[in-house]
Symmetry: D4
């Protein structure tokens, strides 16, 4: 009776060559032993750890922690980042509760070598906050919109800018918010044409989508 001898986790090392995006480690659910092994292995390589809760990071040995740049709100860590790239992204979010997702997107952009500007608390209930910043936002080559609840921000912004827009619905809210499903539907139904959408709370994926876009700037 043959059994699998593989204990560790296979990594997709050719991924950067194939798709231009390095492998990332989604931390929730991974046992401590495996996480520890991964942190050991990647201290000199550009690998992004996402959804890494503060207490989990704090439980790593100090010598290992020192090798990593950890940021608590975005719950991300990395030891090395990719080389600087051409192109900047405006990350626009609706409310302060959307911060973890908006900052996960921002940190991923930073890790991938792209510049970004964060525009938080830009929800449409006070639409003047958005108008004031519009021409500055349009100076970026791509826009990530992060919003929960009715996610009206995606539609309003989509009607005001010619830039590529990647929407990230968030799980903020209660009742009909349904864990972000209503915000997701709103973004997919945006009356402004050409708003592309990611999974709920997927700031990491939005940054990857933006990176795929900005790579066109290279020529």
């Amino acid at each position: 009776m043959k059994k699998s001898s593989s204990n560790g986790v296979l990594f997709d090392c050719g991924r950067t060559e194939r798709i231009g995006l390095p492998e990332a480690v989604f931390c929730p659910g991974k046992p401590r032993a495996i996480l520890l092994e991964l942190f050991e292995r990647f201290q000199k390589r550009p690998v992004l750890f996402t959804r890494l809760e503060e207490e989990v990071f704090a439980s790593l040995p100090l010598t290992l922690r020192r090798k990593y740049d950890y940021e608590a709100i975005s719950r991300t860590a990395f030891a090395e980042r990719l080389a600087h790239q051409t192109g900047r992204v405006a990350v626009v979010s609706a409310g302060s509760a959307d911060a973890p997702v908006a900052r996960e997107a921002a940190r991923t952009l930073d890790f991938l070598g792209y510049g970004y500007t964060l525009y938080e608390d830009s929800g449409v209930a006070g639409i003047w906050r958005l108008n004031d910043k519009l021409s500055e936002i349009n100076d970026h080559e791509a826009i990530i919109v992060v919003a929960g609840l009715d996610a009206a921000l995606a539609s309003v912004l989509g009607g005001l800018t010619p830039r590529p827009i990647v929407g990230v619905p968030t799980s903020v809210g209660y009742g009909l918010a349904r864990g972000g499903e209503s915000a997701l539907a709103s973004m997919l139904l945006s009356c402004a044409p050409g708003v592309a959408v990611m999974n709920i709370d997927n700031g990491y994926g939005a940054a990857c989508a933006a990176a795929r876009i900005l790579r066109l700037l290279k020529g």
Copy 2:
């Protein structure tokens, strides 16, 4: 073995006294014989027929049709209307596909004795269309917002006016529109406080809610 002898439809004649709103007839699913009887019975009383398709109305005898004021887009008919009341409602809709619902609301207001103005094609993808009309809209004592898809109009308008707002999500759209459920969720999750919401496509109900509100103006 006793059986029910009642063939006809019992009407709630005391309703106007109790709640200030006369009975209405929701036409779909009612057999032709019963509809005919109801049209006969109400040719001199203020009763509103809703969701009355053009071909159904056209199939009534001409002498009966002449007694009724029928309007095809709103699919409504009535022989008598209520006395003129104080108060006017702005009915603001997002797109031309919302017209049947917006006009059902408008016609119901007309029937109940209230004034109204229709602002159609005011969706947020072209938000300038809304801004131009804002002060005029605010001259009305109440606002009915009719929108499908992401229903962002409710949030944007809710952040710009102090008036009572009644939202009516519509079943316009495909895919994630889910027959209006996504627009309903968006309105209930509006980031502007105090937007109250009706069932999907329920223009009639929105007008009744507005009428309950405007009655306060009497004293």
Copy 3:
């Protein structure tokens, strides 16, 4: 690589002028540091804190807590309230489990300057409890109905009063209650015309909707 320097939370200070309702702070998910900053900032201004759990409030410094009027069942706090306004609201709830939502509505009304009366435990299984109070309820200019489970109270009351009715479904119940979605559907489907509805458990929003209505009394 430019980054956002903004750490704090932007507030929508012009909101009261635009829509007549001051900004509110929805507390869940906000980090303690940001909450603390907001409590500091708003100790002399009319801002309402909602969903503020007792243990969170208790963790604030005593000197700060003394500036605020906190009420535990409604989970609300404010340092200043708005000036007294004309108009009173009947807040009618079905069962004692609906108390947190009913009282959130009541406290918000109080904060906004409106009077209210609470009618709790008025569910339709014992419909006599409702009948006894009906004429008293009708003495209020608007009615907020708070109910979970089958939310039949909204329909029964809607058929007995001409007043504006704002329904708030609650997440009370198990199984098919589905976190309040069934109560929400019941209210939206009310066989009494003109019942307008808020998101599940949104007592705050119901009070805002009532305030938009009562403002009409000013003239």
Copy 4:
């Protein structure tokens, strides 16, 4: 390669002995040839055909049609009925759109040998209609409640009678009615204890449930 030779439909002939309810034929989806065969076979036996649309029945040969008692609103037919039984059922429905379901229940009771009285248009929006009839309704040994939309009738009646209540939600309504799912949830969540519920539009099943109950009267 062996194949099944059976072309016809196997009937469960021992069912009446085992459970006291004869087999029934649910007509939709059955090919005309099979329906014809079943009508031939059951012209002298107590078998109930349900959901039999008028045009389908009209397409049968006249000689066969003459053997059957067909009723169009309930869409039911049978050639023989069971012997008269002790016990009567009040079938109470909310609106005229519920008639097909209410009458399917009534006709099934008739077929099974039980008496019934139909109380139609008894919705709670005009609750006086129900109150007037209450003591008469309570003279029946069991009650079937048929209602769509918010189905508040089940809760109101459940709070007023000690009789066994079987609720049948109907698919009446649009938008949040969700084909009867909201009415089903309302009935299952009834704040009156002991309301038992059937599948949406299942008037036939409600009558069977009532028959299981009334059989207790025999001793």
Copy 5:
């Protein structure tokens, strides 16, 4: 500004006269102070406390606990029970995980004065377990079926007995069990006619439905 002075919980004291079932107290979500008051008040009256977790009961004063008959698996307590009634119920459950619901039904029957027999672990995967007990089960005047997952037990039993059957789906299971919604659907779709169904996990309600039925035996 008038406020409600009512602090306590109104009880529906006329309920037993109207519907033959005394009031019950659903404990979850009720603050300790209110529960304590209710336990004080009802130590000499027949009131049933349901969903009363062991640690909550244990936290009551010993003198009060001694007045009550508490049972931990069913999570029920009462100080007085109703007088003995004619009629017995078979409570049949599919698996040992259904025990809390099956026993809530059994305890409620006991409280209401009816006899019962529990048949646990009777799932259809081992259908012989059911067959052995069938004639004994049929000696009871009514049957409560308690099952989760695919709830096939309701259909199988429904095809084998002429007795009134009340089904209670349970929230047992994972994945597609969806908190009991799949079991609920299975019971409502039972291919055996006349199975009436309660809300998920509602053993209390099933016993009330059975009591409404058994009352017919009195005459």
Copy 6:
């Protein structure tokens, strides 16, 4: 500006070598021109056409129709079948409304070269019908169970046979049947271990799954 010149449909000709199952043509939605081309192309090759409605087949030229073996209830056609294989499948269905799905499974087995026996009308409401046939059913190497509504047949049969079981839920039923989703959930939740399940109404897929299994008999 380059455009695609491909008008036709690419077929996966290597499929039989790779997975042992030939390509099939799912007919709905395919334009008549494309269907015609496919029927022309495959008149001498083993390709199965599924969901081919009678009127669509009848609209083909007679000379082409003569090349194909068409069966109306299963809505399948083929010109050539695969060589006879070892292994037989029992196709057991619950009711006569399941016939199109059961027979699609049977016809696909026939096309793939496997023997089968159809056991229709074997629903658990009359469980004796199943018991009588059990040893005969167990003489087949695999079992396909086809059932809608509560799909209890899968659990009952799964508890009585050691054979591989492939369940196919059907979209038969109304209300909570939800187009077969409830039957699907019931099968996935079967209390008998090891019942594997296909998509709703997917008789073709079940036969393919059985063929993958029976191929093991070859050695």
Copy 7:
């Protein structure tokens, strides 16, 4: 006071300046009179008509039809197109049933001035079909992936290309396909990072998203 003189449809003429995408007309639900007016008005301007069924287009006057370039599978028409732009898109679809959506995307690109290549029938069940074309696909600056059912194509392709990918789930399939919701979920959950997604069947929107991206190539 009855108002609203506006009969026509307001168009958002400044849209091209603001967002670089001209207005489009979604035809379903628009009355013939309004469609006719729009076709008259836009015969010399770049406006795209989508979801225009063949029989609707055929019903227009011949003189008007001659002004428009209509294509039946994509259901699109336009009289003028935008000037040629830099950038080409690979439109890759899984099966022939996805053709209407894939071609709506392709035609929209054509209308907007972008080149495209269609790769149809590239589903992963025959993954060799995709591999053969990969380097050619990667020669395009952006990729639109169109797939229904399990939409596995998006993940497979996303793991093989560094290009921006816009996914369009289609409503192809039955049962669990749920009108495209399952394909939508699959795309949003793609294990390949950075796949952005549009509403179900929204080929038009995908082309707009691609156009927003390709505009970056200008400089």
Copy 8:
């Protein structure tokens, strides 16, 4: 009349004879006393305990624990296993988060006497990982595919192997993953024919399905 003397749990001892699979104990929700009794009873019989959390097992008496073979990731324990059988299964999983389910399947196979090989981290985002192992995988008589998120692995593998495939969707992921419902739908909709599917996370059931299949190898 209080009854039910049965305290223990009835086991289905004839199950192995009937269906060839011994009884298993699903541990969650079972009280410690009952679990303890079951562990005592089955220390010399082949019974599998599933979903047995490490801390629960650790709480058993040491003498009892020593009798059992416990494995923590799969959360399974047994004292005796079945005799070795002919046939081996490839258990292929997509990511390391699927390990608990994949290993529950593997351990169940081991317990039932079948050989297996585990192929973990074989997701399609790096499809080369799968290709390298394909011929080795095809050397097994059956394949269990374990995957969450978009579960594209089932389709890709289904298009590459002629072996019987049993899919197990997992609850891995967030947002649209919906606790595994999206992965379940993807597997049921697999574009490769003949993939049979189990309930979400049901590794145990997949092994039972595989065992039903492999038993064919005996004769």
